[in-house]
């Protein structure tokens, strides 16, 4: 008579050993949710044909807590890489997915992460075609770290780069700033403030495709993740050797985010986003692009927030509500909540 393997809800070191438990974890916990012909072959590498200009990117996701309002590390890992591809104008096709799991994570939690990966991939229309799972000693990682890589095809005639901003271009942001950073922060241990706020974590590839349809001449696209809008605008200004001027009163910021930032001494310009983009667009196309964006569910609050200038290359300046101008610098270091 065969004996059943002892069933534990927890992921053990043995799950990463390459042995029977490891196979079972992948076969039961991961593969069914992500099933597709390329993945199901289970060869050492996924093999597929493409023709054209390939965009290729990778990112590793570490977030505490791993589940937060509006998303989790699984959704984040898919959206982040899909968005990185999208910011070159590429149509994302295939992803790789690797987990580094801390022993003791529950199988349920892993199941929820995998299920979010599946949902986000389905929403973005991409397939996970290869992957890896490792389990490490307690304390070696914080619950679970996720890496995704991705490839996508750049449509012909699309030339989007952070170095292409031109004086006169308009700067568009796709929606409210800082939702992700504040939503995650509100869940951190020790910081308890009630908020209905959700992370904006979302795949932006369809939005980008719609924008390119309206204006194939979009000069720059970038997602203002860590470091927030201020850091992204500084990168673009430096790369393109231009100045950027934005207007405080045009910046879309939710009341909850503003209130939390005021309380903690943060500036929404520096708070992370996971489902927003900044577009730098030739002035003649700006209104049409904005109009198209606002019809997408992920860009309802899109706004033209400023323009590109010639003087002082690399500098980002904001016209404040009071009519004064001030420098908007990059984020340096970690923002720390203040004392008083």
């Amino acid at each position: 008579m065969e004996m059943e393997l002892p069933v534990s809800d927890r992921i053990l070191m043995a799950h990463g050993s390459g042995g029977k438990l490891a196979h079972e974890l992948i076969a039961k916990g991961v593969l069914p949710a992500l099933s597709n012909p390329l993945l199901d072959r289970l060869d050492d590498a996924a093999v597929f044909e493409v023709s054209g200009r390939l965009a290729f990117t990778t990112d590793t996701y570490v977030v505490n807590p791993i589940f937060f309002p509006g998303g989790d590390i699984g959704r984040l890992a898919v959206c982040g890489t899909v968005n990185d591809l999208s910011m070159t104008g590429a149509v994302p096709l295939y992803l790789s997915l690797a987990f580094v799991i801390e022993e003791g994570l529950s199988q349920d939690e892993l199941g929820m992460v995998v299920s979010s990966v599946r949902q986000a991939a389905a929403e973005a229309g991409v397939q996970v075609v290869t992957g890896d799972t490792k389990v490490v000693n307690r304390g070696s990682v914080d619950k679970i770290f996720v890496n995704t890589g991705g490839v996508g095809l750049v449509p012909e005639a699309v030339e989007i780069s952070g170095s292409k901003a031109q004086p006169g271009d308009k700067v568009i942001v796709s929606g409210t700033l800082g939702d992700h950073g504040i939503a995650v922060l509100s869940q951190r241990e020790g910081l308890t403030f009630g908020t209905e706020l959700q992370s904006d974590c979302a795949p932006l590839n369809r939005l980008v495709a719609e924008m390119i349809e309206v204006s194939p001449r979009i000069h720059c696209l970038r997602d203002p993740t860590r470091g927030g809008l201020a850091t992204t605008l500084n990168e673009l200004a430096a790369q393109s050797r231009v100045s950027i001027r934005i207007y405080e009163e045009r910046l879309p910021v939710r009341d909850e985010v503003r209130a939390a930032c005021d309380m903690l001494g943060f500036d929404p310009l520096y708070v992370a986003n996971e489902g927003k983009l900044v577009a730098i667009v030739p002035p003649d196309d700006a209104e049409a692009v904005l109009d198209k964006m606002r019809r997408n569910r992920y860009a309802r609050d899109a706004a033209i927030i400023g323009e590109v200038g010639e003087a002082s290359p690399g500098r980002v300046v904001m016209k404040t509500r009071l009519g004064a101008s001030r420098i908007v610098d990059m984020l340096v270091g970690d923002p720390l909540p203040r004392i008083c």
């Binding site: 009341d255 503003r258 404040t320 009071l322 001030r326 420098i327 270091g333 004392i339 008083c340």
Partner: protein, 365 residues
Amino acid sequence: MRFVDEYRRSDLAQAVIGRIRRGSTRKARLMEFCGGHTVAILRHGIRQLLPPTVEMLSGPGCPVCVTDNSDLDKAIALARLPRVILTTFGDMLKVRGSRSSLQEVRAEGADVRTVYSTLDALQVARDNPGRPVVFLGVGFETTAPTVAASVLQASREGINNYHVLSFHKLCPPAIRAILDSGEVDLQGLVCPGHVSAVIGSQPWEFVASEYGIPCVVSGFEPLDILQCIDMLVSQIEKGESRVEIAYRRGVHAEGNQRALELMYEVFEVCPAQWRGLGTVPGSGLRLRKEFAAFDAELAFDFDPGPTLHPKGCICGDILRAVKRPSDCQLFGRVCTPASPVGPCMVSSEGSCAACYQYGDGAAGE
């Protein structure tokens, strides 16, 4: 957003700016005591909007900045003790003492934890009954009552592993020290809003009556600050010196009696060491004898070592408003928020960090 948007309305702001420009004929060097005001002034670009007669000087109102190296060394030495958990507000982590910072000793293995309130620190003590938990008490009259409340709570619950390292400071004596030094030519004082919400406006009366300097308590929104400047300019023009409140929704003349009672139930006034000002009599708070068991200075045996100060750093002069960040040779070159030399570049409320982040007001395009 209600209660915020009203205080950022640009049409109202323009009207107040116009009034200040028209009304100001005499020299008006105004000190904003509080770092929160400095940040708001630079963030909204208020300096650029003022007439040449009105000059804003940043004062010592940043609790992180005025914590002396000798005190920082004590916190760092305590954090290094075996089994000790040091809890602190986040912005103290990066400030360097004579030889190290809490961030560095944490990387070396010390158990230093960021908390967002004193009650979180107390929870750490409850959760770790076998280990001493120290709360680093840095702050002004705004913070001290909450620390007092945590000590009283610990006392009620019989939590005996909770200790406070008190470097709390009182604001009015620091202003007296600055005025007595005669180093700074001042015509007006923007009094701190949150501190005054606790202590009231009455403790500033001596500035007006003894030194003849107009005082106005201000809130932190652009319109609050502009209204405060307008009121100060108006007093200066008339040759008056009174204490007024431009922050009535937050501050009453008598302050918050309950908070003050709590504070003085646990703490008593003592001399304190201020960066830049040296020892200022009657400007500190230490735990009363009844609460000696909670006093980290008494509960532990530790050696902070000799106090050193970084060469070339003029944070002390900046905190006294004798110099500006741009006068410092290190500013923006050696000393940046990424690798700060002095505390004024570390704290988000520090003048150097604010000038670095937002420009000193002169910068346009």
